[in-house]
């Protein structure tokens, strides 16, 4: 029982996707998240990997999703939007805290030159 109250630590890739959703606000869907990650981190991820991760995060209860209207730009297909649930925000916060705590005092050394 006690194990469930502690959410499992996020993987590196999961963090990227969650941060992407966070950054995009209410406009987070697959392609936008992919482009955001590519633009900011330089990692070119396949759309497939994005969706695999989104689905996993949704199953974990960190994300919620809804489906938009079909558009001509997408050949009449719909978008699937994602947003953080409170648990998702908590998980991100924990990850950020762990990262900054561990990196504390080494900012100068870890800073990209």
């Amino acid at each position: 029982m006690w194990a469930k109250s502690q959410p499992a630590a996020l993987g590196d890739f999961e963090q990227l996707v969650l941060l992407g959703v966070l950054r995009l606000g209410g406009d987070a869907y697959g392609a936008a998240i992919r482009q955001e990650i590519h633009a900011r981190s330089g990692r070119d991820i396949s759309i497939n990997a994005v969706y695999t991760t989104l689905e996993r995060l949704e199953t974990k209860g960190l994300l919620r999703s809804w489906v938009g209207e079909p558009t001509a730009q997408r050949g009449g297909r719909r978008r699937k939007f994602y947003a953080l649930r409170p648990a998702g925000e908590t998980a991100l916060r924990q990850a950020y805290r762990a990262f900054t705590a561990m990196a504390g005092g080494f900012e100068a050394r870890l800073e990209v030159k």
Binding site: G30, A31, S46, I47, N48, Y51, Q73, R77, R79
Partner: protein, 875 residues
């Protein structure tokens, strides 16, 4: 601008349903954004994304079995395991694959031939409606002959009356001398009625085909070219229609070109350089009692062969009543074209297919042996597997999967082998097999190979797998995997028995075919074919008169006789053993001509003086024909007996009413019987007629030489061209080769069967050797003890050889029974020897016993040299 459709389709197929819409939508959206900058880069990007998606996509649930599907899971894991273990034993795997490749490859090659020749329909439109119609001659005068050429008058009556056919056509072969560009050249033509292309359902590639009115004298100077002739003589010029061909000195205008696919080699009348109208005169159309033409027809849709035959029977009976003098006893038979083309070779091919199946069985027995040995070597591994809970079924399945992997590899290698051997023997096959040019490896052959591989896997793998599954856990572990022990000897002996028995059947078939071939080669044809050169000359129309053609041939023979190395030369209208040639009724002087049914018929040959001497045909009584003779005749011994019984024929006179009802020919000599048609048939009653001046059209010149005949071929041809440079000379070949040509199908069967039998013998001896080596290794301890107790080398040798020879002898006995039982299949194919020939059987049994003995000697010697100390130290 839309994303690559194939990529979208691939994504749609492969992506999980719950994402599909969003992923494809996302990609398309981004694609449009990128396409605004650079469409081609956008497309590249889209493909790149698609491939990345597909590569990492989990399988779609509805297409693939769920990971939990136990049967497929086990199979896949067995498959992986098999490949891994086989890769670790490459020499074993290679040996098995090689043996299977030989077996399956031979099967694939023969099946490819069967497929092209027997199974695939003829390359015509609705080929099953194409038939040939023949006369059935009166059996009293033409015993055994069931298909006879057709006379024009009867054909036109058939054509008018018969309702079963869409169309019907009369045709014949014709040869022309083509002139106008350098040397004269022979052109092989089909002289056909105007309905010919309609019967064949064929459209010209260029121009048109014959009009009905062009099938008449005076209008028939038109020609349709084959694709081959059009390319070779006109360089495929598209404006060829309207040009002229000079054939036999007459101008034929070209009206059309047939497409390449029309020139099917298998049917003589489509395998022609050109086609011209038959263009018979009314007089020629009215000939009823001279049967020289061929008939083809197309059945109406829905009309069965039996219905057509019934109708032709009724029409023939009516014609018999209306024209009793010409038609009594003459019926008609409707034969499917396919049957006509491939009917003769069907028995041979079925026999070869059966033989090659035996080769595969032997290969399977051999592979079974190898798998068996390997299964025993792996007993410990298998025992551990069963200790860990693998049931017998599970072990069986795994070993069978291994066999399947091997058989699949063997099948693939066999397919390559089959393709290579078919390519290598393409020219050989072209002479032996109708439709040879259609032989290829198609879907049906692939399916056959797949089936053969699976059957081979089951046959070779099942027994060893069953046997391995039965291994007792305790025994296997007790031996500690150190010594193999001689287990399963009984099973392996059984495999030897099978291999030997199958080899006996194959060797027997090959032996009988070889004996038949040699019997045919040594048959007394009634003449001496060695050192004889033959060449054929067909005079064109410009030798209009008897005087002109007589002068040509007299001159030709004189010039050839003068050549160095020539002993004699003469001419005949139709060479012996080639078939064809004229068969005519013959009437005694002063007697009325009987109905065709009752009138005796004989083969009629026209010869020039010196023919007997050139061919060394025996003159039994009387004298040879001489230059000065007119209307004289030599009769064969058979003809003398047929026509005059025991009375003396010399001095008697006869008429040949088909030529003339009034000209009497005088018999001046009796000569030996000569095989006119076929070496395997008894000689026909034959008369040889001669008169000094006559209208010779086509003659074969025979030249008896004192040097190898081929060495004067050039000089003889040149001698003819010195008389008339425009005269084509054909088929210049030694009489020995002419004889040889008639034996092609027998030689084909003998060669292929011999090949298979050799393969079988090799496989069987390898099998015996490997089993014996295995047994000797397993029993080395026992042999060591025996030696220690005083057994001599001879005793050990005898023991091991007996071990090998017992199953061999049982196999020989079983094989002999099987060979005798299957002799019926071969009986139709052999000549001068029984398919159950005891002498051949004894020779085959002896050969196999000898080979088995040789295969046993090496392991036996190895056993005899077992050092008792070494053998026992293993304890």
């Amino acid at each position: 601008m839309s994303p690559p459709r194939v990529a979208v389709w691939l994504l749609t197929c492969r992506l999980p349903a719950e994402w599909r819409e969003f992923v494809v939508g996302d990609l398309e959206e981004e694609f449009h954004a990128r396409a605004a900058v650079s469409p081609s880069a956008a497309r590249r990007w889209f493909w790149h994304q698609t491939i990345r998606c597909l590569a990492r996509t989990p399988p779609r649930t509805e297409l693939r079995p769920t990971p939990g599907d136990p049967l497929v899971q086990t199979f896949l894991s067995d498959l992986r395991y098999s490949v891994r273990t086989l890769l670790r034993a490459p020499s074993f795997a290679l040996a098995v694959i090689a043996v299977l490749a030989l077996g399956i490859g031979a099967n694939a090659a023969i099946f490819s031939i069967v497929n092209a020749v027997l199974l695939r329909p003829l390359p015509f439109d609705e080929p099953d409606r194409l038939v040939r119609i023949f006369h059935v001659p009166p059996q009293s005068t033409f015993p055994g002959i069931t298909r006879f050429s057709v006379s024009p008058a009867n054909f036109y009556d058939w054509q008018r009356a018969a309702q079963s056919f869409d169309s019907m056509v009369l045709f014949r072969g014709r040869q022309f001398a083509l002139t106008g560009s350098g040397n004269a050249e022979r052109v092989v033509a089909g002289a056909v009625g105007a309905e010919f292309f309609h019967v064949a359902h064929a459209q010209p590639a260029l121009g048109r085909v014959f009009l009905p009115e062009e099938d008449s004298p005076g209008r028939g100077q038109v020609a349709v070219l084959s694709d081959k002739f059009w390319r070779s003589h006109f360089g495929a010029a598209t404006d060829v229609v309207g040009r002229t061909l000079m054939l036999d000195g007459q101008a034929f205008s070209i009206i059309g070109v047939m497409p390449a696919r029309f020139s099917a080699k298998a049917w003589a009348v489509t395998d022609r350089d050109i086609w011209v109208p038959l263009a018979y005169t009314d007089e020629r159309r009215a000939v009823r009692d001279n049967h020289n033409d061929a008939v083809a027809a197309r059945l109406k849709p829905g009309v069965s062969l039996a219905q057509a035959q019934a109708e032709m029977d009724a029409i023939s009976q009516r014609l018999e009543r209306e024209y009793p003098q010409a038609n009594t006893g003459w019926g008609a038979t409707v034969v499917p074209l396919q049957e006509l083309i491939v009917g003769d070779i069907r028995t041979t091919l079925v026999m070869l297919l059966a033989a090659v199946a035996l080769v595969l069985l032997i290969a399977c027995a051999n592979v079974g042996n190898l798998l068996f040995a390997r299964g025993l070597g792996r007993r410990k591994e298998l025992a551990i597997r069963s200790a860990l809970g693998a049931g017998r079924g599970r072990v069986f399945q795994q070993l069978l999967t291994e066999a399947l992997v091997l058989a699949t590899a063997g099948g693939a290698a066999g397919l390559l082998l089959a393709r290579a051997s078919l390519t290598a023997s393409a020219t050989l096959l072209a002479d032996q097999v109708p439709r040879a040019e259609e032989i290829s490896i198609d879907g049906r052959v692939l399916l056959f190979v797949a089936g053969a591989s699976i059957v081979a896997a089951i046959l070779a793998g099942a027994l060893p797998a069953l046997r391995a599954g039965r291994t007792g856990l305790n025994d296997a572990l007790k031996e500690g995997g150190r010594s193999e022990g001689a287990v399963g000897i009984r099973t392996r002996r059984l495999l030897i028995v099978c291999e030997v028995a199958l080899s006996v059947v194959l060797l027997m078939a090959a032996g009988v075919m070889l004996r038949s071939l040699s019997a045919l080669r040594n048959v007394d044809a009634g003449f001496d074919p060695h050192n004889v050169l033959t060449l054929q000359v067909q005079l064109p129309m410009r030798y209009r008169t008897a005087a002109l053609s007589t002068a040509f041939f007299d001159n030709a023979l004189t010039r050839i006789r003068a050549l160095p190395g020539v002993e004699a030369a003469a001419a005949i209208d139709s060479l012996p053993v080639q078939g064809g040639g004229s068969v005519q009724p013959i009437v005694h002087e002063g007697q009325p001509e009987l109905l065709p049914r009752d009138q005796p018929t004989v083969a009629v040959r026209k010869i020039t003086p010196g023919y007997l001497k050139t061919m060394r045909v025996q003159l039994l009584r009387g004298r040879d024909v001489a230059d000065s003779d007119t209307e004289v005749m030599l009769v064969s011994r058979g003809a003398a007996k047929l026509l005059w019984g025991d009375a003396d024929p010399i001095g008697r006179r006869v008429t040949l009413p088909l030529q003339s009802k009034t000209v009497l020919k005088r018999v001046i000599g009796i000569v030996g019987d000569v095989k006119q048609d076929d070496l395997s048939e008894p000689p026909m009653a034959t008369v040889y007629e001669y008169t000094h001046e006559r209208d010779w059209r086509g003659l074969a010149i025979a030249v008896r030489t004192s040097v190898p005949p081929s060495s004067i071929a050039q000089a003889a041809t040149a001698a003819l061209h010195a008389i008339d440079p425009e005269q084509p000379v054909q088929n210049v070949m030694a009489m020995d080769d002419v004889l040889d040509q008639t034996l092609t199908s027998q030689r084909f069967s003998a060669v292929v069967l011999g090949l298979f039998a050799t393969l079988a013998l090799t496989l069987a001896s390898v099998g015996i050797y490997s089993v014996l080596s295995y047994i000797v290794r397993g029993r080395s301890r026992e042999i060591g003890i025996r030696t220690a107790l005083g057994a001599r080398t001879g005793d050990v040798l005898r023991m091991v050889i007996a071990e090998g020879m017992t199953p061999t002898l049982i196999g020989i006995a079983g094989g002999a029974v099987a060979a005798l039982a299957s002799a019926r299949l071969l009986e139709k194919l052999v000549f001068g020897v029984s398919a159950a020939d005891p002498l051949t059987l004894v020779a085959v049994a002896g050969t196999l016993a000898f080979v088995a003995l040789v295969a046993s000697v090496v392991p036996a010697y190895r056993a005899a040299r077992v050092d008792p100390l070494n053998a026992l130290r293993d304890e």
